[in-house]
Symmetry: C2
Subunit: 483 residues, 2 copies
């Protein structure tokens, strides 16, 4: 499906209106030169399907506000002129999440980035704060973010909330949406006279993971994790079974404090070794590798488990060594694995999946046996929202055709593995096609004119039916804020 | 089974030898007056069976050394004179663990109690340190013990290692024996010329949970937990199912930082209310109560779950309030529940059990339906050594006869629930009767003359067979230390 057209957002009209808004707000930082192209894109090109469908998309201008007043001015003007707004953090997502389907303004929040406070294990920041920067500011007090993507260096907290699911740390705290992780958000309505509202948990999750399509998040208040001194290690195994059994046992081991456990089955370690000279000597070629972050105090326990499962530690850096080198193995996990592998082998793409807790090892073995070289096993161990240990897969797939890619995903589903399809750009299509009435109802309150990247949320077209269903009591919503 | 007699430890000879040793070591703190009775006992009387069998037991003297040299002097003398040694912490156990079967010397380690160091999430202390005192010293640096019994106020770290399983905190870190919790122990051999040796994990667990019968532990090095500001709350429910579902969901919830979740089914809350005026108003009479400790930052998440399951928070104290009041609900959980309930209803005793992770709620419901008022449900949520969430039961039982008590335990086993029988005083009988060759082989090295509370470890009688089996390769042991 190619990006839509809509008479309502006629390109000439939107272009002229955008230019008028920029002219009317000269104090703001506007970008209208060749950088607009880069700032209209993310890592959508991980998917050969999205690459074909989305690569032509461009905003008419990018604005980079520094204060809430500046944000309000842009929002008010866009709402008055019916100009689409696409919210952007650092653009490290890989689903075309922040690519504007109908041009208009890219609202780049990366300069709206202050840590507001950190106290008692909770931190509050403006949406555009980079996660590495937030950790840098809170770690001296003993706290850090509960989960971060491998792109933590540049990615923003608002971006994680808007487009992310979880990441490094989810092995302890589950996905970001688990009860207790997000305490509150401050959001702004997209109206000629924008209102702001504080949503506390659980309502604070109403704008989560819908890519900024149902509201504009200004600030986030999140529960933090104790900041341990993290030892980084890579453990290599000759046999896949030993590698996954070790990874699973380590992930479960209650006495081992850990931050991440990643299984990179052969030949992924070879792809990573080929991708960068920085990894030279860190893995045994031909092996299956498990990347781990454990608290330094847990190193003897790690060694004990490595010995039990017959692995070999081929890389080890203390927290101090990691810090002084400014390099971390985290940047070879999650979708950084995909990025590096694709540099080496252009035929690769990927899928994202969630295994069934308890059956996850058996599912991984069965799928590996089924696909052979076509699908390379990359698993991240995480807890589910309900606290069960399982893994999330970011399998590398040798791309043959769109049809075969669909088949590969369907075969995963037939094995009981959930697929978060990263080859679609409509929000609901990445979530098994389900329209979520809560999401649509939230958008009706926060974005009544439907200006937040119009076309991305399929459920918006059904808003009248949903409103009628709610009014008639046929659908019950999560408690929505009133303001 | 009554406590044994053994010609080798003829009471008159042991009494005379003990007196001679005390006379030879006058600089040490010896206790030979009426306090010997109390110091020869623990909370064995929780069991009507043990009460009958063990209440007559007395040591001939108690010694309370302050240094390793003093310990060495006592041990050397006892070994030379073949006087039994029974190691004691604070005597808060409830299995007659530290009650001397053949008199001799009680080696009371409560004055050997220094914190040696605390660094990078690891602490090392002398065995007799009280757990509350260790926490008091390490908490300013942000660390505390990973699991403590409800008797943490007086109980010693060595006592937990020697006679304990886990406790408050095991919901995160599993039992003390989970890989990574115990880093090392320093132990002394019971010989005329005692040797000391450092055992590192996993060998550090060879002397764990056998009640000081196979070696004398001097120092312990344990991994610590981040010390959060713990909020204490009691949540009351009208229905048992809602209470257990809430407790289980809270225990699992990955985004809620917690230290303990305890389910006290009706009528236990009423028993606790009757036991002490201190609890007045903290629980709804007639209700099922869940006692919880969560990080203060997790309070909104707790409230959210309470609302979801239809509970009511009837007691709430912040960490500062707990500290200033010097009272904690922890002292109404684990075997403190048993203690308080028995004060009110003299017909009660208890059992200890381990539920099967995943089936634990169903098992608890089935057993509750089976027993009605005869067995009162008290569950502590913990992780297993392998990291699965489950619960440990300290059910209160209306005592009718020894035979019925055995039947009650057998019915639990038939429901798939593991029983750690607290009505037996032989080490192996509390562990399904199995002789553990590792434990016996360890005792052969650390206590070659069999002086550590002789008679308590049944496997000791089989030491020659075990040694022969090991020599012939018929039994393989965990790696034992050589020295």
């Amino acid at each position: 499906m190619n990006a839509p057209t809509a008479p309502e957002f006629d390109a000439a009209r939107v272009a002229a209106a955008t230019a008028a808004i920029a002219a009317r707000l000269p104090a703001l930082e506007w970008i209208t030169d060749s950088r607009v192209e880069r700032l209209s894109q993310d890592f959508y090109w991980f998917s050969p399907v999205l690459k074909r469908q989305l690569e032509h998309l461009r905003a008419h201008a990018v604005v980079r506000p520094k204060t809430e007043d500046e944000i309000r001015a842009v929002v008010a003007a866009c709402a008055a002129e019916r100009v689409p707004i696409t919210v952007r953090g650092s653009g490290t997502g890989n689903y075309g999440q922040c690519m504007p389907l109908h041009g208009g303004v890219i609202l780049d929040l990366s300069a709206y980035n202050k840590l507001l406070w950190c106290e008692g294990g909770v931190g509050r920041a403006q949406a555009g704060i980079r996660m590495m920067e937030m950790d840098r500011q809170t770690q001296p007090a003993g706290w850090e973010l509960r989960c971060v993507p491998s792109t933590f260096r540049s990615a923003t907290l608002g971006g994680l909330y808007g487009g992310g699911f979880g990441g490094v740390g989810s092995i302890n705290f589950g996905p970001l949406a688990s009860t207790g992780n997000v305490m509150g958000v401050r959001a702004m309505t997209i109206e000629p006279e924008p209102k702001t509202v504080e949503l506390r948990a659980p309502e604070a999750l109403l704008l989560h993971h819908v890519y900024g399509t149902n509201g504009l998040v200004l600030e986030l208040e999140v529960a933090l994790a104790p900041a341990h001194a993290w030892l980084e290690a890579i453990v290599c195994f000759e046999a896949f079974d030993a590698a996954i059994d070790f990874a699973d046992a380590l992930a479960h081991a209650p006495g081992v404090i850990k931050k991440s456990v990643t299984l990179q089955a052969a030949p992924i370690p070879d792809l990573l070794l080929a991708a960068t000279p920085l990894l030279k000597g860190t893995m045994t070629p031909g092996s299956h590798a498990v990347f781990v972050l454990v608290a330094e105090a847990s190193e003897p326990a790690l060694q004990q488990l490595v010995a039990e499962f017959g692995g070999r530690i081929t890389h080890r850096k203390t927290a101090a060594e990691v810090k002084s080198s400014n390099r971390t193995i985290v940047e070879y996990t999650w979708n950084h694995t995909t990025l590096h592998a694709m540099k080496v082998d252009k035929s690769l793409t990927y899928i994202q999946s969630g295994f069934e807790a308890g059956r996850h090892k058996a599912q991984a073995r069965a799928l590996r046996a089924h696909f052979g070289d076509e699908v390379l096993t990359h698993l991240e161990f995480i807890r589910t929202k309900e606290g069960a240990m399982t893994c999330s897969g970011l399998q590398l797939v040798r791309y043959r055709s769109d049809e075969r890619l669909d088949e590969v995903m369907q075969i995963h589903r037939e094995h009981g593995v959930y697929i978060a399809n990263p080859h679609v750009w409509v929000v609901e299509d990445g979530k098994q096609g389900q329209v979520n009435p809560d999401v649509v109802a939230t958008k009706m309150r926060f974005d009544p004119a439907g200006l937040l990247n119009p076309g991305k949320l399929r459920g918006w077209a059904e808003r009248e039916r949903i409103a009628a269903d709610v009014a008639a009591g046929r659908v019950s919503l999560a408690t929505l804020p009133s303001f």
